[in-house]
Symmetry: C2
Subunit: 438 residues, 2 copies
């Protein structure tokens, strides 16, 4: 394929697929039917999904699993989790059961401020800019009334607008730094619409302002956009129990378990190479719930990892200690989630996921999601410091290789039995399967 | 629901759904049918997807879209992108077209080292430990032969093993720090299997080592696991063109565009609140390709964001400058991806996505994926510094609200026309729709 295509987005789905098959798949009918076998029989439903994004040709399946037995703030939940990685849902379920028998998870929203910025250049007297911004605040707020009206009815809106001088970092660079309360919506559209209006008014008013010199009037907006860094939209999730209730392994005392566990967390606190993978495990739990509830995992990921690096070194999100014979394990993370707006009422499985979670408020969803992350990290660390993670992983790996090679149920049983006592590698499994079949 | 459930994982899918319906959905038949309407008619195919994870009850649809016209290293590609967010695929396609007409994207893999660590505690003489580790290296390598044999045939394997002393950060804490070459596989299973074997040998050999004191013999492994932080598995993606070829807007010269664009990038370089969202945009492109090709986006996200914070401040992944009249825009990021193993040969749509990409090696996929990220960032910045992002977003938002309210095609046309001249908010759309219908 050496030529660009024109007007691709104007083709209908069938035409797009034909173009793809012709130019990239040697007109292979089997390839076309792979795409089509994932279409939903219900054409109206399929159309709905097609319109979520552009140039849609099929539905990419992520398995939707259930992790039951999450006792959170005294109430049992079953967590809908959309994720392609094996072991995650099983690990979440096990951690849930474990902590359910030890008082459950506690989760608390600490604050819920969302942030947006108008980034602009101003060449002139900073104190005059300061006066100017203070003076136009009523006009800024007035200008966004059509946008904020409904949000205010729901108890949210603009919290405050400040001018930030960043000229020490970049010549002439200032921000309007705006805090928002977006209630149960994630708020991206709301915030961006407000900011773009602010930017308009800011430039207009600067231009009209008679106290400004010619250069000052020429205030120049670079861009206006929300921030996915939300260190004041945070939630805490925690578990605790007496140290001697911690171990389920007869070969390891609760104290030994607690100490090894705390060492593993300490390592993630001081060693970035480990912290990244440690936090990746936290995000396995978080993203699975974020996806199932129609939220934006890229936004959450970016905000959480930046938070993990906020003190200059990339470090663990979770922490653990023993205090007066009590083992405590906890995490504080930023999470900007919504339970209204966006996909939440459009994607039927997202709607259902929120029903399964008993229609949570955004704050409740923050709590549930943070717990999923903490549970995942607990399960991962528990495996790592006891059996190692490969035991469980490799069992899943074995099943995947067997499925890939279309093993029968009987073959699967025999292979599982065999590999209870032998090392699983891709080649050893293939070898053994061939031996069995020959 | 106030009681935990036992043996949930042992229930079959139908039973799991019945339990869910009874305990969390008031036995609502409509809810059950939402789950079932997403099952594939082909039972064998459905079974395959059910087995990817645990407790699977349905398929979560992510739209799979195509972004054509990606000219990368002289070859045209169409990118399969799995993502729920509107505008991402359209933006990628536009950026591809734009740069395709200006020489295309260049991408280069800089290095491909993967990393794993055995984390352990050793109480004793560091110089004796040093000698010990050097001495047992042949035994370590010998012990993993059954695991590395096949990887070595493919040209990969263990690159080096070093002892790292971290006792300045944490008492008695050391690492075996191991570099791997995993060729076209992401390598997580391979690396973890090697590390767990190393850990075993390390403890056994320490225990047997006659030069060690009793304390020294009691070397204690805390955990063994790969790192998702891969600053030596990186790829560079770049574009460039003469400044005067940059603008497609008659009201903005190429020079003005370039300068404003570079300002926007500079802001993301010095301001973490902006950098997080800037990089989130990069990841919109990257994750969509990562998902479609069956890779693990949590691993990629964690590694990339940690990399963005590696110098102590969280900063922009992309950079831009003008040099001798040429505008240059580029990014270097860590990306550990695989094109064999994992889901790549199991998930039919992942297989197809790799076919669409002409069966790339892992290195080629790193290049393509990095380009998707750079393109996405370019498109986002271009919108931000010209029209603002809300114009496009709000049009999609409008369509979503209309779909949600089951607007007819005629209603949609009229509404789109109306909102070309009016501000789109959720309430204004509903109001206008009601007006039209009354």
């Amino acid at each position: 394929m050496t030529k660009p295509v024109n007007g691709f987005s104007k083709l209908n789905k069938e035409e797009k697929i034909n173009w793809l098959a012709k130019n990239y798949l040697n007109n292979n009918d089997a390839a076309i039917s792979v795409l089509k076998q994932y279409w939903n029989e219900d054409q109206e439903l399929q159309k709905l999904h097609d319109e979520f994004i552009e140039n849609t040709v099929s539905n990419f399946y992520l398995p939707l699993g259930l992790a039951p037995n999450f006792l959170i703030n005294g109430k049992y939940h079953v967590l809908p989790m959309a994720i392609e990685e094996s072991s995650v849902v099983a690990a979440a379920s096990k951690a849930a059961k474990f902590w359910g028998e030890r008082g459950g998870f506690k989760a608390t929203v600490l604050n819920t401020k969302k942030i947006g910025q108008v980034h602009f250049l101003f060449q002139g007297d900073p104190s005059k800019l300061d006066v100017f911004v203070t003076n136009i605040k009523p006009k800024l707020k007035e200008a966004v009334k059509p946008i904020t009206r409904n949000m205010e009815k729901r108890g949210g809106g603009i919290l405050d607008i400040s001018l930030i001088n960043k000229t020490d970092k970049l010549e002439n660079y200032y921000q309007l730094f705006v805090n928002f309360d977006t209630r149960d919506s994630m708020g991206a559209n709301f915030i961006n619409s407000c900011l773009e209006k602010f930017a308009e008014v800011l430039q207009e008013e600067a231009n009209k302002n008679e106290d400004f010199t010619k250069e000052e009037k020429d205030l120049k907006v670079i861009m206006s956009i929300l921030s996915n860094y939300v260190p004041e939209c945070t939630v805490k999730a925690e578990v605790s129990c007496p140290v001697d209730k911690l171990s389920e392994d007869p070969n390891m005392s609760g104290k030994e378990f607690a100490e090894k566990f705390i060492q593993a967390v300490r390592i993630a606190e001081i060693e970035p190479y480990r912290a990244v993978t440690h936090n990746k495990g936290v995000m396995n739990g978080i993203d699975a719930v974020v996806l199932a509830t129609g939220n934006d995992f890229r936004a959450v990921e970016a905000g959480v990892h930046a938070y993990a690096s906020r003190n200059g070194d990339y470090t663990s999100l979770t922490h653990a200690k023993i205090e007066d014979g009590i083992f405590k394990f906890w995490m504080e993370i930023p999470l900007a989630l919504g339970t209204v707006g966006g996909l939440t009422s459009l994607h039927p499985l997202v709607k259902l996921a929120l029903d399964i979670l008993q229609r949570p408020t955004a704050n409740e969803l923050m709590e549930i999601t943070a717990v999923a992350g903490l549970a995942q990290n607990f399960a991962a660390l528990r495996s790592l410091i006891t059996t190692g993670i490969q035991q469980g992983h490799m069992k899943m790996h074995l099943m995947n290789i067997l499925n890939q090679n279309k093993a029968t149920e009987i073959e699967k049983e025999e292979m599982v039995e065999y590999f209870t006592h032998h090392t699983i590698t891709h080649s050893s499994v293939i070898e053994q399967l061939e031996k069995m079949r020959s």
